[in-house]
């Protein structure tokens, strides 16, 4: 028996569903930072990202009765997160997310001027810029896979496709990101 079998996210959420709302606090502690970074990369500003995290947890309580736990807590939470995000875009009248909406600047603001950047800092900045230019489906896929927000089979369940398809899509996304990254790097060095 593993500790995760006993105190798993799934177990906690089932209790929340059955009326033990306080346990949502444990789920918040475990997941709010990851959700925040997920939104930061796929919805832009810090303030927006925080609002969206809050909204996800509000909805978890509101729709807790819909939780069945069959495909696990992670996919359920990120499905909710994606809905929250698209509702937000609709409210703001934005077209589905594209690179023009990404606030890479906000992140970059806190960093030293380009000339002072070390090589690695610079490539992190360029990678961020490249990531922001990727279509949102690919960007979120990469974030989910690379930051280990979800396992491959959970991503498959979230996207309603097979694990093999998930792998192919991630591979394509890395390829496209590499291409954009290369392009930007060449422009910067030119």
């Amino acid at each position: 028996m593993n500790v995760t079998d006993v105190f798993s996210d799934n177990e906690l959420m089932l209790r929340v569903r059955d009326g033990d709302n306080v346990r949502l606090g444990m789920l918040f502690e475990r997941h709010h930072k990851k959700l925040f970074n997920f939104f930061l990369h796929t919805a832009g500003k810090r303030q927006v990202a925080e609002d969206l995290v809050q909204e996800v947890f509000v909805r978890m309580l509101k729709y807790k009765h819909t939780y069945r736990g069959e495909s696990g807590f992670g996919p359920w939470m990120y499905r909710m997160a994606r809905n929250v995000r698209s509702d937000q875009f609709r409210k703001r009248g934005n077209a589905p997310f594209d690179s023009a909406n990404v606030e890479t600047v906000e992140l970059a603001d806190e960093r030293p001027a380009p000339a002072e950047l070390l090589e690695t800092d610079q490539s992190i900045g360029l990678l961020r810029t490249a990531l922001a230019q990727l279509p949102i489906e690919k960007r979120e896929l990469l974030i989910m896979a690379r930051f280990e927000l979800l396992k491959q089979d959970e991503i498959a369940s979230l996207l309603d496709c097979s694990v093999a398809t998930v792998k192919v899509r991630i591979h394509r996304a890395i390829k496209e990101l590499s291409r954009i990254y290369h392009q930007i790097t060449c422009e910067v060095r030119a």
């Binding site: 995290v53 947890f57 990531l131």
Partner: protein, 259 residues
């Protein structure tokens, strides 16, 4: 293996999930194919770079907002005045210094008052017990290390923890950034090591713990329990080159003494 097959396996390769046979054929093809070599190295560079993107921290306001939302839901769900008042105080994450201990005292006075007015005493005692646990939980969620330490110490106020406090303490042992909080939480959990889930999680954390201080404290706590899995973990540690010498020495001594 041809170029197309390589491209199908790249993702597993990047994640080091190729099985041994595949890995060999993969390497053989790469050695002989400059095009694949270049492509894979590009992808690897990007994939590694993604992992290096720093994770950002949300502001502390997010936490405050969440707990006040949770609190308002609680109030809506349970319209019992006394309980609600306690929860307001205890679940809201910003408890001023010293107030937590005062809360219990005050609760005692309230109980006195309620007894006179004929309320059910057992019910109120239960409420106070759950109150002290709520204070523990709330303190354990603070950003400041000294508040979290107070949370662990506060947990001693309850003779018996409920499951949620145990979970919070386990989380503290496994995930708290402060060595001091982790050490204090280990101490607080010692009476619960006979419970299999608690024991198992401590053994798991020992495997990933990097601070020698905490390692030794976990080892000492676990050693008394003598479970098969514990001994196995300790044996592995005694031969793990990543474990610093003094800790390894400590484990070996314990294991030798136990024979």
């Amino acid at each position: 293996m041809n170029c197309e097959e390589i491209s199908e396996l790249v993702y597993d390769y990047l994640n080091e999930r190729l099985d041994a046979d595949c890995a060999v054929s993969f390497t053989v093809h790469m050695d002989g194919c400059a095009e694949c070599r270049e492509q894979v190295s590009d992808l690897q560079h990007t994939w590694t770079g993604l992992a290096d993107l720093p994770q950002e921290e949300p502001s502390s306001e997010l936490k405050a907002r969440f707990y006040s939302m949770l609190e308002s839901q609680q109030v809506a769900a349970k319209p019992r005045p006394l309980a609600t008042w306690f929860q307001n105080l205890a679940v809201f994450p910003l408890i001023p210094q010293g107030l937590a201990a005062g809360v219990l005292l005050f609760a005692g006075i309230l109980i006195g008052a309620q007894i006179e007015s004929g309320e059910n005493v057992d019910e109120l005692r239960r409420e106070v017990r759950s109150l002290s646990q709520r204070v523990t939980l709330s303190l354990l969620q603070q950003d400041s290390v000294s508040e979290r330490l107070r949370g662990v110490r506060f947990s001693y106020q309850s003779a018996v923890y409920d499951e949620e406090v145990i979970i919070a303490l386990i989380d503290a042992v496994g995930y708290d950034k402060s060595v001091n909080v982790r050490l204090a939480a280990i101490d607080a959990l010692k009476p619960y090591l006979s419970q299999q889930p608690v024991l198992n999680s401590m053994v798991t954390f020992l495997g990933k713990e990097r601070s020698p201080l905490v390692q030794v404290s976990l080892i000492d706590a676990l050693f008394g329990t003598n479970g098969g899995e514990t001994l196995e973990t300790l044996r592995v540690m005694s031969n793990d080159a990543q474990v610093i010498d003094s800790v390894r020495e400590h484990v070996r001594t314990l294991l030798e003494e136990s024979v």
